[in-house]
Symmetry: C2
Subunit: 335 residues, 2 copies
């Protein structure tokens, strides 16, 4: 398996990306190809004390940044690292592409240049949250601001395959994020999605309220991308807030500072599951190839972890099952 | 001012409600009228060691519970405590109604039997979250699952008046919850709402991402009721989760238990701002009278606090300003 790594994507590119590649290669022996401006990459390898020839480089003369309109950018910058990376893995099951670049651009690039799994309508973004007792996959998180019920069904199917293949959950359950557990709850989209999921998915457990997000109600929770983005960012804000409140308490008095010294390591460890560096990243769902999005603020450790996660994902057997699942004729997914 | 209190509403009715009334009367000397089944209320007063004549009672022979369809229930149960309470305060500026009953039923009852502020289209639910440095009012939280941009403008106006009159913020700022800060972000509703708020509201600061919810970006954050409900329940779930993770750490070892003993009181105090008992409740916005919703799980302390909050809200001058605001001709609010 080859790892194509976008050397130009992310807040800390190219230095931290290339450092991450060096670390992943040293630790796991992966064959990593750096995608980006050849001269910049060679210079950076030299700066890091490495032979510029120690990595294969796939030259891409353009870059796409966070300010570019994603769709316009991938259409006009055909020699950008994102487009070149997405093209490199097209039709090649023995390759993965990892990028910490603009999510929108990676999504657009992967859709256009890697292609979608046959039978799917929409690529989607998912994220696995570490719940109190077990993980939960939330999707879509912003790839599809407007959805139809059949898109939510598609997310449910592909999300179940992910939790089965990557997290080893034999029969993952699916919940529909909603503002109440009753079938009649929600906007028209959610009422229709509830009915469709009930009809088509044996593993559908019904609506899930977001106060249950971390408490194991379902293995996969689906919603439209606008709602998913709101939920995820609310989680981020709420947990950041809780940690800040806690830090305030721990600094409040000499007595509390003593307590802080006693529990500091355990607190750090307990809350580290929410650190993007630790989780590495997430695949784009519905793409006919493995395109892995690392967090934009990734440092070398996060990049190394993203590469490892992408390799594990490659080994999981997910892609074959996903292709088979959507190749089967299913009217609900047909437009 | 008279306080009409729904003695039959909430998980702990009638006992905790009536206890709350006794405590509020003892502490603040309010004139409290208990609304509900007269015989049940008298019996409960006796059980609590009080003279059954110590409170005026407004008899209401029916009750509405959480399982009733809100709109059908208020239409068919005209002698329910919610309907009787909502009618009791209609046109009476020297009265407030407090209930811990079904939110949907109170909303429907208040809309139909107390009436809306002239010039408003939609009643709404708001909640004030205690942010890191200052409070933020989130609305709508579930009263209006489907919204138009002009409804969000209405929420923004009435929410600003609330933060000004009740929280003393001279010029409250308004943000639009969205999946990105750029004007082009969001579903069509959110794009249109952004444009309308920009045009009509001098105090509009633009889109706010939910990772900023607790960090003082705006004094009022508006969204449709479906999204608001998802956000609020995600906050509830995330903070509950964080507290559980923290409790796990504090019980992990004898060393940690020692630390826990040192910081327990400060931790409890720091996180108490999110305890529904402490906050008491929230008014229904857009209703032409003060209808105050206490949390369904309210105990006597929460009921006492809700009564005090409702009385403070009554004294704030909000209603007069709200009537004036919407009486002024404003095409954006006209249908």
């Amino acid at each position: 398996m080859k790892v194509y790594l976008d050397a130009m994507g992310g807040d800390n590119a190219p230095k931290e990306i290339i450092k991450g590649a060096i670390e992943a290669k040293a630790e796991k022996g992966y064959e990593i190809i750096l995608v980006g401006k050849e001269d910049v990459i060679k210079e950076e390898l030299k700066n890091l004390g490495k032979d510029p020839k120690s990595f294969e480089i796939l030259n891409a003369t353009e870059t796409i940044d966070m300010h570019d309109d994603p769709i316009k950018a991938v259409r006009s910058k055909r020699d950008s690292s994102i487009v070149v990376g997405c093209r490199a893995i097209k039709g090649n099951d023995e390759a993965v592409f990892v990028s910490a670049g603009s999510t929108g651009a990676i999504l657009a690039g992967a859709s256009l240049f890697t292609g979608r799994i046959k039978g799917t309508k929409r690529p989607a973004l998912g994220v696995v949250l570490q719940g109190l007792e077990k993980p939960v996959l939330m999707m879509d998180n912003g790839a599809n601001i407007e959805c139809k019920p059949e898109h939510l069904l598609e997310f449910a199917k592909i999300g179940s395959l992910y939790m089965k293949n990557v997290y080893g959950i034999k029969e993952p359950t699916v919940g529909l994020a909603n503002n109440g557990t009753e079938e009649s709850k929600g906007s028209p989209l959610y009422k229709e999605a509830n009915a469709l999921l009930r009809e088509k998915l044996p593993n559908f457990i019904g609506n899930v309220e977001m106060k249950q997000l971390f408490f194991g109600e379902a293995d996969v929770i689906v919603c439209d991308g606008f709602t998913g983005n709101m939920i995820l960012k609310t989680v981020e804000g709420s947990l950041t807030f809780a940690v800040k409140v806690l830090k305030g308490v721990l600094k409040k008095s000499p007595k509390n500072m003593l307590a802080a010294a006693l529990i500091k390591n355990d607190i750090t460890q307990a809350f580290s599951g929410f650190d993007p560096s630790a989780t590495g990243g997430a695949p784009l769902f519905g793409i006919d190839g493995i395109v892995f999005k690392a967090h934009g603020s990734s440092d070398s450790v996060a990049i190394k972890n993203a590469i490892i996660k992408a390799a594990e994902f490659h080994a999981s057997g997910f892609m074959a099952e996903a292709r088979e699942c959507f190749a089967a004729k299913d009217e609900a997914v047909e437009e």
